[in-house]
Symmetry: C2
């Protein structure tokens, strides 16, 4: 392979990585914003005695994410796994909140991704 | 608790969930865009005989994500876990690509999040 071809490949690689870095920044800030909302939901539910879990909401969320994933040409199975990953992080946050904050109705295992 | 207070809480809850749904759409489309780039990187590396793994790149990515997470008031540990989650999905994609496509230098375990 010529030096030019290698240089061209390296330039293309750099361009993709710069895009990936920008997209990662979007992901981090979007996730941070999402957690602010789930934290607010957790406080709201605790303050108003609302049930922590809402299975109907969760199944609507999963179906919607799968539909969005299809539109975006993203593996729907990955979208499901991603939601589960986020939900377990929300649960971890709520658990920490329960440890540090006032007692609320229902256990952390009933908490969901909101 | 009065009916009004419950209604107010339900309105707030709905608002947060609508925000969460919009943020989830951003996440899905951003992830889809990110995977397009990592797929292109995988093809590029295979075509040009570039090594699939780049530990220096990965440690820079992790340090950067932790810094971004701090700026965004997101748990840096979560940012790390998130990158690992994404990387394992990229590896799964590359494995599928290796199964279906031509042989490339290095195994899928050497692949990274690009």
């Amino acid at each position: 392979m010529s030096v030019d071809a290698i240089r061209h490949a390296a330039d293309l690689l750099r361009g993709h990585r710069e895009s990936i870095d920008r997209l990662d920044a979007i992901l981090v800030f979007t996730l941070a914003e999402r957690f602010k909302h789930t934290q607010a939901v957790g406080v709201l539910k605790a303050q108003h005695g609302l049930p922590p879990s809402d299975p109907a909401r969760e199944s609507v969320q999963i179906a919607r994410l799968e539909r969005l994933a299809e539109q975006a040409d993203l593996d729907p199975e990955f979208a499901r796994k991603f939601l589960n990953f986020i939900i377990s992080e929300v649960i971890r946050h709520h658990e920490r909140h329960l440890e540090n904050g006032p007692a609320v109705t229902g256990g952390p295992t009933q908490t969901q991704g909101d």
